[in-house]
């Protein structure tokens, strides 16, 4: 007799090619949100070196004796990979902010008919801002 067919996982994941703007926005926002909270934890951990610094601990950085905080931060900042990661973080943050603004507008019921355009705008702006900030981020990095 009658029994129905469940198309299973295909349904949930197999259709990403057919996603619309709003669905991509949702996925990107999620992704960037998780990155940001992850970063926030790391960030506080790094900043915790201030406690050591306040206790007078010092470390060597580029042949100089500096306090632990300054040393940690400048040490990290001195690494190329950290700079690159920072650019990535900026991109992530900028997208999350821009799309966050878009979402806040959506929540307030403003400009809903342009939701797809505003998503594309967020993407483009994110790209632009990221590229534009590369010089600032990479300036003076000790290669």
């Amino acid at each position: 007799m009658s029994q129905s067919y469940n198309r299973g996982l295909i349904e949930d994941f197999g259709r990403w090619k057919e996603f619309s703007a709003g669905m991509w926005a949702w996925i990107f926002h999620k992704f960037t949100g998780w990155m940001l909270i992850g970063y926030l934890f790391t960030h506080i951990a790094v900043l915790s070196s201030a406690i050591a610094a306040a206790n007078g601990e010092t470390m060597m950085l580029a042949g100089e004796q500096v306090n632990a905080y300054t040393g940690t931060i400048q040490g990290l900042e001195g690494l190329f990979i950290v700079r690159i990661l920072e650019v990535g973080l900026l991109a992530v943050a900028v997208f999350h902010i821009l799309n966050g603004i878009r979402l806040l507008m959506v929540d307030l019921g403003i400009g809903l008919t342009a939701q797809d355009k505003s998503f594309y705008a967020s993407l483009v702006l994110t790209g632009a801002i990221t590229v534009a900030s590369v010089p600032t981020f990479l300036s003076g990095v000790g290669l």
Partner: protein
């Protein structure tokens, strides 16, 4: 009909706070990024400089609030995302507890660090 939904808790408050913190974060995060990457370059950050900034009570409070808001926003966001993926029952309670603890720890540690920077401890 509607009764089968009656055991759930309304979720409006968290939703609302997520938006309020987001609105707040836009401003502070932009300020924060700008200040620490464009005005002062991150690579030139020193303990002294940080201490100086933190000495302003306004800046200090903003940063603490930034942290609280960010922690809530991020942790609540993660929680929502998991719940939306169909988390329920005991795992859901566990996740809530773990995330809350992590969030609290983050805020506590962050606040402690800030107090140190501000030379209040």
């Amino acid at each position: 009909m509607a009764e089968r939904y009656s055991s759930f808790t309304p979720g409006g408050t968290a939703w609302f706070l997520q938006r309020v913190t987001a609105a707040f974060l836009i401003v502070v995060l932009a300020f924060h990024f700008f200040l620490l990457h464009f005005v002062n370059h991150a690579a030139e950050v020193t303990f002294m400089g940080t201490q100086q900034r933190m000495d302003h009570i306004g800046y200090f409070l903003t940063m603490v609030l930034f942290l609280v808001a960010g922690a809530f926003h991020g942790v609540n966001g993660v929680y929502n995302a998991l719940v939306n993926q169909g988390l329920s029952g005991t795992p859901k309670k566990v996740v809530l507890a773990v995330l809350s603890l992590a969030g609290l720890a983050l805020v506590a540690q962050g606040t402690y660090v800030a107090l140190v920077m501000a030379e209040m401890i």
